[in-house]
């Protein structure tokens, strides 16, 4: 389990991720997950998405969105498991899996965005 002094650090990541996720994920999920697949809106072509992703600012945006959202998930899901399932004895395993997942996801995002264009 993390030391008490680390809790504030993880909480800042959690709340920054909460803001980013609240402002940005609904619109992106609606477009790419619902509106484009159902044909409500014309999906952007491969070329136009590549043009978008080649902009450094867009890649930075996607990196921050992916990373902070994952740290938001890690914090919240950790406590959901603690409280919801009442599995206090698994605290350390859950902690490692949640934050480990967030770190791996951040690394994958960094690699993909660095090499994509």
């Amino acid at each position: 389990m993390a030391k008490q002094s680390n809790e504030a650090f993880f909480w800042v990541l959690f709340s920054a991720g909460g803001v980013v996720a609240a402002l940005l994920i609904p619109v992106q999920l609606f477009l790419f997950g619902v509106a484009f697949p159902l044909g409500w809106l014309g999906a952007p072509s491969y070329e136009s998405l590549m043009a978008l992703v080649s902009l450094p600012l867009v890649r930075l945006y996607l990196f921050v969105l992916c990373s902070l959202s994952l740290f938001h998930w890690a914090h919240r899901f950790r406590y959901t498991l603690y409280d919801g399932l009442r599995v206090k004895h698994l605290n350390e395993v859950i902690f490692s899996l949640c934050y480990g997942g967030a770190v791996v996801g951040t690394a994958v995002a960094a690699y993909l965005l660095w090499t994509i264009a």
Binding site: G33, L70, A109
Partner: protein, 145 residues
């Protein structure tokens, strides 16, 4: 005063010399099903799973883009399968729920005072909603233009 022997209290309870055992009521794994507020809390917390799901989808989308037009077309047809569409609609509802509960929490977390009076909660939350709409329109315009 007579002291009851441990066996007469509970056969299964062990005592140590150093610390008494606390009595703690056992709480069911399904404690959050009983009340609307608890259910709302757990659904709000579970929205984080769909936040993570969105990130995973985005990473797969980036990987497909990186691999080329054919891989991206395959990814698009994956997103068009009914199961994935239903999953994404559920995920969308959860992230909207997250957004609304998050914005409405701000006035409680950071009460704003003007001239000694507390600004009404909806006025503190309002800028978040304005920003949400503006950013959504901007992202939509960037992607579809």
């Amino acid at each position: 005063m007579a002291v009851a022997k441990p066996e007469t209290i509970s056969a299964g309870t062990r005592y140590t010399d150093f610390h008494p055992r606390w009595y703690r009521r056992r709480v069911s794994v399904y404690w959050w099903l009983g009340q609307r507020q608890y259910l709302k809390f757990i659904l709000r917390e579970l929205s984080s799973v769909f936040v993570a799901l969105f990130v995973v989808e985005t990473l797969f989308q980036l990987a497909a883009l990186k691999s080329g037009p054919q891989a991206y077309a395959d990814f698009q047809s994956f997103l068009e399968s009914p199961f994935v569409i239903v999953l994404n609609i559920i995920a969308f509802l959860f992230v909207v729920f997250h957004a609304i509960t998050w914005f409405n929490l701000a006035p409680s977390a950071m009460p704003v005072r003007l001239g000694g009076k507390r600004v009404p909660d909806f006025l503190v939350a309002a800028p978040s909603y304005v920003m949400w709409v503006a950013i959504s329109v901007f992202v939509g315009w960037m992607v579809t233009r």
